[in-house]
């Protein structure tokens, strides 16, 4: 005798009774209301009983089911399906006609392999191959894109009236003017922290004043352009990617293509020009604020501002300043270009837009590091 009785409390008035004592196999008596909320526990009980006893024949007494929607029918289909898969028999008895009609819509055999597929095992060689191919494809796309942008820029230079200056000015405002506060904040903080960290050891040698040399050189040659570039990547590179990506998803890029307008010429050129114009300006601004940040450290030690200022001027040359600016120009083109490229590469759907924005920032920062390294080497050999 094996009787499992089970009643649900509260709002779910469905119950099931399993009885394996009879001669006709397992008898499941289901009572009450079977809907998506109440079926869950009954479902576990029913399949549990079938798994445990693996009977050759299951009879479901459905005469006391007073309501049953597709979820409830799902339970009956599941019982039929399980028995079919195990080579057993099953019978649903006395189901009300209106529910029987729903059950008849489904063929349990059709859902035989309804188990979720196991994940495909990962093959190392395959993965490596795919990754290499993807990197190669990405590099190829990048090279093609650089070529396209270059051709379009040359075209824009020779036909300045074909450039969409209105767009360019708008982008210049959002990437340039609106970025001032955050760049000021970051630069000021970096100048201040660098000065403060340097002054502690230098003080032991009575060399506090040389903090001015350190901050001035580091900010102008390296940190000013670098911080500007990183902030721009995060702010504008991702924005370009998201904007162009959404346009791609909305088929706006396709619309441009069919109107005979090259998306690179129409969308990318104005952004690259704007970034090209704005990055050096932002860098100058960042240089200035960064050096100002450093001045506070010496001021707090009693040196007047003018002493700091004179020391900075004697330490840095125009060459240092210009080398930073040239670098920032390259950063600017690169950030705008990568952002637009990732946007144009967007695949389908909302997730793809987010992915493009992420990719724009990540590859932007990687390229900043690479370009900065190349410039360091070149400047070293040129003696700049």
């Amino acid at each position: 005798m094996d009787v499992a009785s089970f009643n649900m409390q509260g709002e779910s008035p469905a119950s099931i009774r399993a009885d394996a004592s009879g001669p006709g196999g397992l008898l499941l008596t289901i009572e009450g209301r079977l809907d998506s909320a109440t079926t869950a526990k009954v479902w576990r009980e029913a399949t549990g009983a079938i798994e445990k006893m693996s009977p050759s024949r299951v009879v479901v007494d459905a005469s006391k089911i007073n309501y049953c929607d597709v979820s409830g029918i799902g339970l009956l289909v599941d019982i039929l399906r399980r028995q079919q898969m195990r080579g057993g028999e099953a019978e649903i008895r006395d189901l009300q006609a209106r529910f029987q009609r729903i059950l008849d819509l489904f063929d349990p055999a059709g859902f035989r392999d309804a188990q979720t597929e196991e994940r495909k095992s990962v093959n190392l060689a395959e993965e490596v191959g795919k990754t290499v191919y993807r990197i190669w494809q990405d590099a190829y796309d990048l090279i093609v894109f650089v070529g396209e942008v270059f051709v379009s820029l040359v075209y824009a230079f020779r036909n300045p009236r074909r450039v969409r200056w209105k767009d360019a000015f708008l982008v210049a405002e959002t990437t340039g003017v609106n970025a001032l506060p955050i760049i000021a904040l970051v630069s000021f903080l970096v100048g201040l922290i660098m000065g403060f960290q340097a002054v502690i050891p230098m003080r032991q040698f009575g060399a506090e004043i040389f903090v001015a040399d350190l901050v001035g050189l580091a900010i102008l040659r390296e940190l000013g352009p670098l911080m500007t570039a990183i902030v721009l990547t995060g702010r504008s590179g991702s924005a370009f990617a998201a904007e162009l990506g959404t346009m791609k998803v909305n088929e706006e890029i396709d619309a441009l293509n069919t109107m005979g307008l090259d998306p690179v010429r129409f969308l990318v050129v104005s952004r690259v020009i704007a970034a090209l114009a704005m990055t050096p300006l932002l860098t100058i601004f960042s240089d200035l604020i960064g050096v100002m940040g450093g001045s506070l450290v010496l001021r707090s030690l009693g040196y007047p501002f003018v002493t700091y200022w004179n020391e900075v001027l004697s330490a840095v040359s125009y060459m240092d300043f210009l080398s930073g600016l040239v670098k920032s120009l390259v950063f600017g083109i690169m950030i705008a270009g990568i952002g637009c490229l990732r946007g144009l590469q967007t695949k389908i759907g909302a997730t793809a837009v987010g992915e493009s924005a992420t990719r724009a920032v990540v590859s932007g920062i990687i390229f900043i590091v690479i370009i900065d390294g190349v410039f360091s080497v070149v400047y070293y050999y040129l003696g700049v």
Partner: protein, 257 residues
Amino acid sequence: MSRIQDPIVRVENLTAGYGETLIIDNISFEVDRGEVFVILGGSGSGKSTILKQMIGLYRPMSGKILINGQDIVSAEGKERLQILSEIGVMYQRGALFGSMTLLENARLPLEEFTDLPPSAMDLIAMMKLELVGLHGFEDQMPSQLSGGMQKRAAIARAMALDPQILFLDEPSSGLDPITSAEVDQLVLNAAHNLGITFVIVSHDLASTYTIADRVVILDTTTKGIAATGRPNELRDQSDNPWVRQFLNRKVASDMFE
């Protein structure tokens, strides 16, 4: 006009609009349990606005919307969730989640609102897809499907929790006549076999004559209801000439003079 026996949706004195613009001015109608009810109207007559009020997305300026006797306008928290579990909505462009397969789309409400074992959720989601004729497409992404299939998948997702009422926003827009007829058949089957009440916003007359038990026709100029009733009767017998014109697809008589 036959009296409603057992209204499942009641719209009472609904006035709605956006900001200063009034779109719907004081309309009332009822939807009977188990019927296919179509809201017809010209472009800009506020069809979609009414739908969005009925499913609780927007708040009306005034009026009541009773779903199964409960007011969706004033409901909050648990009560609101309870009402929402009784309705399913298919949006005009499907609104399937692009990052999920069809099966995952149809499974999502089950995962969030029931305690069913995972294999049971899979089975029920597959059955819903079977009901809309998408058996075998469970592992496809929405973007791989045609517009008609996306709409059918969206209906399957709307049916996930076996709602009593399904709201469909323009089910035949953007579909070819054959696919559109398939969706009509799907609606008829679901209404007949599962007893689901349908509230459909449409401007497709052919489809309306096929599926609708009753229609309400909105009037753009008065922002009210021009007529309510069975579509065939209204077409032939309505005493409002504009309604007869609308249902017969006639051009406004003074338009090309």
